[in-house]
Symmetry: C2
Subunit: 140 residues, 2 copies
């Protein structure tokens, strides 16, 4: 596995929560939704289908882990999972919680309106909370 | 596994291509994109995370199978995979091919504009072509 570098656009738009076995887990800087992004640390991937069976198994476990936490966030009644990559080619998987009262409901969140960034304090709180909930599932 | 019934909205919006080991494979009735939908034949599922590890492995294999065919369709340069379900609760996974010249590019396809239905002849051709390409991967 060659050295992994996060795409500049993902680095710009997200906070780093921590490393899971396959993927880096990011928090999208948009308070409108509890919105995570998983980025498998394998250089050169652009499509889900490029993951081998073992990597896919890890990714699914990580989607489930993040989903279980998101499902318990206030107001969340539905999860959305998507691998699009029309703008950022590096393979990344969106996992986010939706609510019938959220900005884009029932439409998709991608490309909808303007992100509402976290304050510095709120982002630190959110990341701290995520790291606490993930506990030993984090590898870094 | 209790008897599986396809949600009425999916039945209305899609053609049945065939059965894969876990999922029914549907073709969305919208000629703007080559757009498939996988519906695991397990009643009561609404979220990806409810799949067990074996089902998830099957689903991933089916996403890969469909992705490989979609990636060879004329003009397709990117795949989009999404499990949303904001409008139709039955778990279903969209797998579709995108092109920089398609209607919604680079935005998401969900909720964008109006579907352009297949003619009866074109839908039969498309389903026949899919069934030929899937061959022995179909179980029904």
């Amino acid at each position: 596995m060659s050295e992994f570098n996060l795409h500049a656009k993902l680095a710009e738009d997200c906070f780093f929560i921590g490393a899971l076995p396959l993927s880096d887990l990011l928090l999208l800087n948009d308070t409108r939704y509890p919105w995570c992004v998983l980025v498998p640390r394998v250089m050169g991937l652009t499509e889900l289908m490029q993951l081998d069976a073992v990597q896919a198994q890890s990714l699914f476990a990580e989607i489930r882990l993040v989903s279980n936490i998101l499902a318990k966030q206030p107001g969340v009644t539905k999860l959305n999972v998507g691998a699009l990559g029309n703008l950022v080619p590096q393979l990344h998987i969106h996992v986010l919680g939706r609510s019938p009262s959220d900005a884009a409901w029932p439409g998709p969140v991608w490309g909808y309106g303007e992100a509402q960034p976290y304050s510095s304090q709120k982002s630190h709180q959110a990341i701290h909370q995520w790291r606490g909930l993930l506990g030993d599932d984090l590898v870094g």
